[in-house]
């Protein structure tokens, strides 16, 4: 018998809007 796979941990992802709010994206005009 094959061992049952371990349940995987669901990693919560930020949405693009949340990332934008966190100021992770640079301004278009920045060098």
């Amino acid at each position: 018998l094959r061992p049952l796979p371990r349940p995987r941990v669901l990693l919560k992802a930020p949405t693009l809007a949340e990332m934008e709010e966190m100021n992770l994206f640079e301004d278009e005009d920045s060098p």
Binding site: R8, L10, L11, A13, P14, L16, E28, S30
Partner: protein, 388 residues
């Protein structure tokens, strides 16, 4: 001199690792500073996506949730930032569309979910993620793909738009028709764009999209969108310009459209509704060429012009201008016959086509046959700190 010792790879498992100290360098080198036209990236389309995924596999394999998060968050922010900085550069946008899509496909292909793994080789199935479920990240990446797609469409439109009217309407290329313009209406264009230059631009779009490894279905949708814009822009211009509504112009337009149709056939993308986007323009060209005298002609127009609205048909007939003694202006009684035949049509009374329409876009799952363990990373990518 330094002697390099080649390590024999006996058992590469399709994973890559980097030290914590190389983290910032990794994202800068692989994403921020990467040139989409370099030799290193054109050898294996989607290579940056595979490298990212192989690093992700190692982080998953070692159960390092912090590194998995960093890899995904930093990849997304770095890609977003490249696209913000080079928002108008078609090459960059096409390149990151292909790679973001490929990265997303990899997350699915190696998810262990049956629906995505059924086409995998046994070796690929052994390489599925072990510790983390990244379904949530797939959603964020899908949103990113949609944003990049919309940016790509905008980039292409910005390049195509200035060419369309000159190439499709103003330039005369059929010998013998050249001299038939009404007096006073000759040489209104000063633009140097020709149909040939527009087809070259389309060629360049197509070959770049392919070279970067964009999925064929996605390329088809991109082209459908551009062909719609070509049709809408040309038709709208025709509807506003009397000098474009003549028999000879109809012939020229039909010839130009047939060149576009031929281009689609050459590239093998005529299906899936791409060619159909040109239909209103084809019918407008036919309307200019068809006989416009008796009841039978009116019926033929009403039957043929299904992709044009009644408002557009009437406008073209009203604008129709004879350029020689063999052609005649459309009579008032003929206009009435056509109007009577079209009066029951249920459609928008708007004259112009909406050139801002964005067709719904989908990017179906497309697993890759690439064996991760066999991928070679070219030296020119400057990623020698990555360990297999």
């Amino acid at each position: 001199p330094e002697v390099s010792i080649l390590r024999k790879e006996r058992h590469c498992q399709g994973m890559l690792e980097y030290g914590k100290e190389d983290e910032a360098n990794f994202f800068r080198t692989l994403i921020t500073d990467l040139k989409p036209r370099g030799v290193a990236v054109s050898l294996t389309p989607g290579l940056p996506a595979y490298i990212l995924f192989m690093c992700l596999r190692h982080a998953d394999y070692t159960n390092n949730d912090q590194r998995v998060r960093t890899l995904l968050n930093s990849s997304i922010t770095s890609i977003k930032n490249v696209l913000k900085k080079r928002s108008r550069d078609f090459d960059t946008v096409s390149f990151w569309l292909a790679n973001t899509c490929r990265f997303l496909h990899c997350l699915k292909q190696y998810s262990g979910e049956e629906v995505y793994t059924k086409y995998n080789t046994p070796q690929q199935n052994k390489q599925c993620l072990l510790n983390f479920d990244l379904t949530d990240y797939r959603q964020t990446l899908s949103d990113l793909v949609i944003q990049i797609y919309q940016q790509l469409i905008k980039c292409m439109e910005d390049l195509l738009q200035p060419m369309i009217v000159a190439a499709m309407l103003e330039q005369d290329t059929i010998p013998g028709v050249l001299g038939l313009k009404p007096t006073g209406l000759r040489k209104r264009t000063s633009s140097s764009f020709t149909l040939e230059s527009m087809l070259k631009q389309l060629d360049s779009f197509h070959s770049t999209l392919l070279q970067h490894g964009n999925d064929t279905e996605l390329i088809r949708q991109v082209l459908k969108q551009q062909f719609y814009v070509i049709c809408a822009t040309t038709l709208n211009n025709l509807l506003l310009r009397k000098d474009m509504c003549s028999w000879s112009k109809g012939l020229q337009i039909r010839y130009n459209v047939s060149q576009l149709e031929e281009w689609l056939m050459d590239k093998g993308v005529q299906g899936g509704g791409v060619r159909e986007t040109l239909e209103p323009l084809i019918q407008a060209a036919q309307l200019l060429q068809i006989k416009k005298k008796n009841q039978e002609d009116a019926e033929a127009i009403a039957t043929m012009c299904t992709a044009l609205t009644a408002t557009q048909i009437e406008k073209i007939l009203n604008l129709y201008t004879p350029v020689n003694e063999f052609e005649e202006r459309v009579s008032a009684s003929f206009m009435k016959s056509v109007q009577a035949l079209l009066k029951d049509r249920q459609e928008s009374p708007q004259l112009l086509m909406d050139s801002k329409v964005l067709f719904p876009f989908s990017f179906p799952f497309n697993p890759s046959p690439v064996a991760l363990e066999s991928l070679q990373i070219p030296q020119s990518l400057n990623l020698s700190f990555l360990m297999r």
